[in-house]
């Protein structure tokens, strides 16, 4: 083989441009990590001390105060579940219109798409806790604030994924309906909805699961549920009670996941 042919038989996995792009990404990631490590305000002694402190805390939590459960925990836990469920349902109701508006194939008006997307991004970026702070300030402490917080934050999540599911729906069935002269609402109900339905339910279940976790925390800012019980116990340094609350939370979360997995198997 002549040298010229030999030279051809080389294999470059990435073109020089791709190489540069990949290198830049790697470099940026590593640089970001290094800069963060150097500038974040963490006292090294605290890091060294951390394992012992954590062990100490765990010791104080043992044994968990089982009697505490019927006293306070049970009702508060049920409250949290109510908040999560109601909030999710309300969130769906509010998210659906925005989801339809944001889907470019359903709503062919770019400025409407854009406006809807803006709403979705904003509600997704503002945490449930922050919404809870708002609603506690407006409606006073209690489960109402929590429910609204969950609902509003869910709009962004549900709405965006819903609009993405709509955008990848096949156009065939919809075109056929349009050709048959169906009005717009019928297009939605008979054309798009059957296609996105499984994805929709999977989404809703996923969001409900997350909302159960979120609603637990809302009590910390006064928005009802078990968070308030946890907050009280922590402020009073009653670590066995804290442990019990945490165990109860773990149980609820696991049950919620089991329920979600069961329902998902049934509908998909």
């Amino acid at each position: 083989m002549t040298p010229a042919v030999l030279a051809e038989r080389e294999w470059l996995r990435f073109t020089p441009a791709e190489r540069l792009a990949r290198f830049t990404v790697y470099f940026t990631i590593i640089a970001a990590i290094v800069v963060s490590v150097r500038t974040v305000e963490v006292i090294p002694e605290f890091i060294a001390d951390a394992p012992e402190q954590i062990a100490d805390l765990l010791r104080r939590m043992w044994p968990p105060d089982l009697a505490y459960y019927p006293q306070e925990i049970h009702d508060a836990l049920i409250d949290s579940i109510h908040i999560a469920t109601l909030g999710t349902v309300l969130g769906i109701a509010m998210a659906l219109p925005f989801g339809f508006l944001a889907a470019r194939n359903v709503t062919p008006f770019p400025w409407l798409n854009w406006a809807a997307r803006l709403v979705l991004i904003s509600t997704r970026s503002i945490n449930t806790l922050v919404f809870a702070l708002f609603f506690v300030a407006v409606f006073g402490p209690g489960p109402l604030a929590g429910t609204l917080a969950i609902a509003f934050h869910s709009i962004g999540f549900l709405g965006r994924l819903f609009s993405e599911a709509l955008e990848v729906a096949a156009t065939g069935p919809v075109e056929a309906l349009r050709a048959a002269g169906a009005p717009w609402p019928s297009l939605i109900v008979y054309g798009y909805w059957p296609q996105v339905e499984p994805a929709f339910w999977a989404l809703v279940l996923f969001r409900w699961d997350i909302n159960v976790r979120e609603s637990i925390v809302l009590g910390l800012v006064g928005a009802g549920g078990i968070g308030m019980v946890l907050d009280t116990a922590m402020n009073l340094f009653q670590w066995e009670r804290v442990a019990m609350v945490l165990l109860a939370i773990l149980a609820v979360v696991i049950v919620a996941e089991v329920v979600v997995t069961y329902i998902r198997k049934k509908i998909i």
Binding site: E18, A21, R22, T24, V25, I29, A32, I33, V35, S36, V37, T39, V40, E41, V42, I43, F46, I47, D49, A50, Q53, I54, D56, L57, D79, H82, T85, L86, V89, I121, S122, R124, S125, I126, N127, L129, V130, L133, F134, A137, V138, F139, G140, G142, P143, L144, T147, R213, E214, I216, V217, L220, V221, L230, M234, L246, I249, L250, V253, I254
Partner: protein, 260 residues
């Protein structure tokens, strides 16, 4: 066409009962909310005044704002990096198609426990353990990351085609080479997707854990709230939204570079 019934599907009674039950439940839960029309209307009025106080957003304390945002960003980056490092081997150990049951079971248990607690709760515990500040926040976010990334990665590994792996094994390749050539190409694209999702989630969570003292902009936000400094609150929230949007744009670029 009079008289033609459009009932195409037979009535699914168990399902209808389930829905009816659910509607009843909703009504019951709603009654727990102390929701009266009067309260709602007062709330709306108050809400209007409240929203008015938000605008215009007040940026004059921007140094404090930037400091908080920077800390949140650093926390998110470090937690994502640590979480990624820890969850990669953990997810490999949890993959039932690659490992025996006595290894996958504990690995999956660890991931479930990490995932079950909201990052804020984990943050509170870490604050009590290691004190206020970014360390507690980073640890809390890392735990949450390990839980979520671990589960997503394990699912991706369990969904790979073992035929491709079998062929690589048949060439006499050592175990790590089988992973590199047989497993990784099948999951790499999804990994990048999950990692960028987790970075986004950490960015959002890092703005929250400050509320319980674990560092980041959450603390600044909470303090402003308690001081009724609502136009500053608005400025903070707008900055958070901006930071998250920028984060999303960057991660999309990364995904494109790696041809996901």
């Amino acid at each position: 066409m009079a008289g033609v019934s459009l009932a195409v599907r037979p009535a699914n009674w168990p399902l209808r009962l389930a829905w009816a039950g659910f509607a009843l439940y909703l009504a019951y839960a709603f009654s727990h909310l102390d929701f009266t029309p009067a309260r709602f209307i007062t709330g709306l009025e108050f809400g209007q005044k409240f929203v008015a106080k938000l605008f215009p957003p007040d940026f004059h304390r921007w140094e404090l704002l930037v400091k908080g945002l920077k800390e949140s960003l650093e926390m998110a980056i470090l937690a994502s990096a640590l979480g990624l490092l820890a969850s990669l081997p953990l997810s490999l150990l949890g993959a039932r198609n690659l490992m025996p049951a006595w290894i996958t079971w504990p690995a999956r248990l660890v991931m479930v426990v990490c995932r079950s607690f909201h990052p804020v709760i984990v943050a509170i515990v870490f604050v009590k353990a290691v004190g206020f500040g970014a360390l507690a926040g980073i640890l809390a976010l890392t735990v949450a990351s390990v839980g979520f990334l671990g589960k997503l990665f394990t699912e991706a590994i369990e969904e790979i085609s073992l035929k491709q792996v079998e062929a690589v094994r048949a060439t006499g390749a050592p175990f790590m080479s089988v992973v590199v050539f047989g497993v990784l190409p099948q999951v790499f694209a999804r990994f990048i997707g999950f990692a960028s999702y987790e970075l986004d989630a950490n960015l959002r969570n890092s703005t929250m854990v400050g509320i319980v003292g674990a560092g980041g902009i959450g603390g600044t936000l909470f303090a402003a709230f308690q001081r009724f400094d609502y136009d500053f609150v608005c400025a903070i929230i707008l900055s958070i939204i901006a930071m998250i949007v920028v984060g999303e744009v960057l991660t999309n670029t990364v995904k494109r570079v790696f041809r996901v």
